[in-house]
């Protein structure tokens, strides 16, 4: 009676055991990479908006402060999306016949809101408040990136929990003086390792055991 398996099957069976382990590992790795990819987090992707508004032009070019439009960033959870009236402050005169701005004028004429598409959309089970971050020395660009270099707005950070925790575990690596919160392209005067811990102390920023408490963000 002949053998069912050839002798080479020995090698194949050993190889397949290894292959199984590596396939599972590779699969796990692929899932992890995919989970953090821009495809899943929707970071670094331009989103079509009703008006091609350029932060690069308004912030970088003209030097308008973030708060001119995002008026509630220091006092409320939401930074605030400006009403069309804020656009009209200048665009009643500047580029007042530009076809690009017709949606803005139509919105002002008809009292209908411009329907901007939310770029930073946190899951609803996360509590986030702009005012406390601004008050404790977290710069706009720390989360939003250098918007003065963005012709169209995009999400810079992954907005995933591990990204939030990066700072909530080590706030001293990210905080800046309150006077620099709205600065774009900020560079610490001396090294961050020096001023970071001092600012954490000065601003009474809670320790990482408090900041990483589940109910700080999931409440």
């Amino acid at each position: 009676m002949s053998q069912i398996f050839k002798q080479s099957a020995n090698a194949w069976s050993k190889a397949s055991i290894f292959a199984l382990v590596f396939t599972l590992l590779a699969l796990g790795w692929a899932v992890m990479v995919l989970q953090r990819s821009d495809f899943v987090t929707s970071a670094n992707q331009f989103i079509a908006q009703p008006v091609q508004f350029s932060h690069q032009h308004h912030v970088g070019g003209i030097g308008i402060d973030c708060r001119y439009c995002h008026t509630s960033v220091e006092v409320a959870a939401s930074a605030g999306i400006p009403p069309t009236k804020t656009c009209i402050n200048c665009h009643s005169q500047i580029w007042s016949d530009s076809p690009y701005l017709e949606p803005v004028r139509a919105s002002f004429r008809n009292d209908t809101p411009l329907e901007w598409v939310r770029v930073h959309d946190l899951p609803d089970f996360v509590y986030f408040n702009h005012s406390i971050h601004v008050a404790k020395g977290v710069g706009c660009e720390t989360c939003h990136g250098q918007v003065d270099k963005m012709p169209l707005m995009l999400q810079k950070a992954s907005l995933q929990m591990e990204w939030c925790l990066e700072c909530h575990r080590n706030p001293e690596q990210f905080v800046r003086p309150r006077s620099e919160v709205f600065t774009m392209g900020y560079q610490p005067a001396s090294s961050q390792a020096e001023i970071g811990p001092a600012l954490v102390k000065e601003y009474n920023i809670a320790g990482s055991s408090n900041l990483t408490n589940c109910s700080v963000c999931h409440r």
């Binding site: 003209i62 001119y68 939401s78 009236k85 200048c90 209908t112 809101p113 609803d124 089970f125």
Partner: protein, 208 residues
């Protein structure tokens, strides 16, 4: 026998995965409004609601004319409705630089960046008419606008408007200060160019 049990088990796992996927989506986007979200419920499509016309929220009755309109007995007020501390003046400066400097410029000469980009020439605070104007007038213009300038009532809260007005007074003083107001040691710097003035004083640079 055995195969049908494993098929059932696999089906159960698949169903669980499908159900869990459903959960994830719902919890990411629960049925409540986020700020500024669109609404299918309200006729105008906005989740953010305005006060019904004619209503006053508790504690928000604007009975103090001086504070809220900048007028006393119908005339522009000549005084502030509250005492302005030095720290509040600093806030006025900061608010001025955010909301006013784009057009009026950081020194109040009306040559801000937006004017340089084509907006109609903004007023300089250093003209005689505005130097002689009452403080309530500035509050009124910030609130209601003037000429090409739109009102800033939506962007700047009442108290901040007064602090900005206070800072405008400081700007006016800065451009019309008598020589005696400058400390004798600082007077030579008045002849320097702006670049020289911005450079750190030589004593600080040598560090002695």
């Amino acid at each position: 026998m055995r195969s049908s049990a494993s098929i059932r088990r696999a089906a159960l796992v698949l169903a669980a995965v499908a159900v869990l996927a459903g959960c994830r989506q719902d919890m990411h986007d629960t049925p409540r409004y986020e700020p500024f979200e669109a609404s299918t419920f309200f006729a105008d499509g906005r989740a953010s609601r305005a006060y019904p016309i004619g209503t006053v929220a508790r504690g928000q009755l604007r009975a103090d004319d001086h504070l809220y309109t900048g007028r006393v007995n119908g005339e522009f007020a000549e005084t502030f409705p509250f005492a302005v501390s030095h720290a509040e003046m600093a806030r006025g400066q900061q608010r001025y630089n955010v909301y006013c400097a784009p057009c009026h410029g950081q020194i109040g000469d009306g040559n801000g960046m937006v004017v340089q980009r084509g907006l109609r020439q903004a007023a300089t605070y250093h003209q005689d008419r505005l130097r002689g104007e009452r403080i309530g007038y500035f509050y009124d213009v910030i609130t209601n606008g003037f000429g090409a300038m739109q009102g800033y009532a939506e962007q700047v809260p009442v108290r901040d408007r007064w602090l900005i007005a206070a800072y405008i007074r400081a700007l006016q003083l800065s451009q019309h200060a008598p020589l005696e107001a400058v400390r004798p040691g600082d007077r030579p710097r008045l002849d320097q160019t702006p670049e020289e003035q911005l450079a750190p004083p030589p004593t600080a640079a040598t560090g002695h």
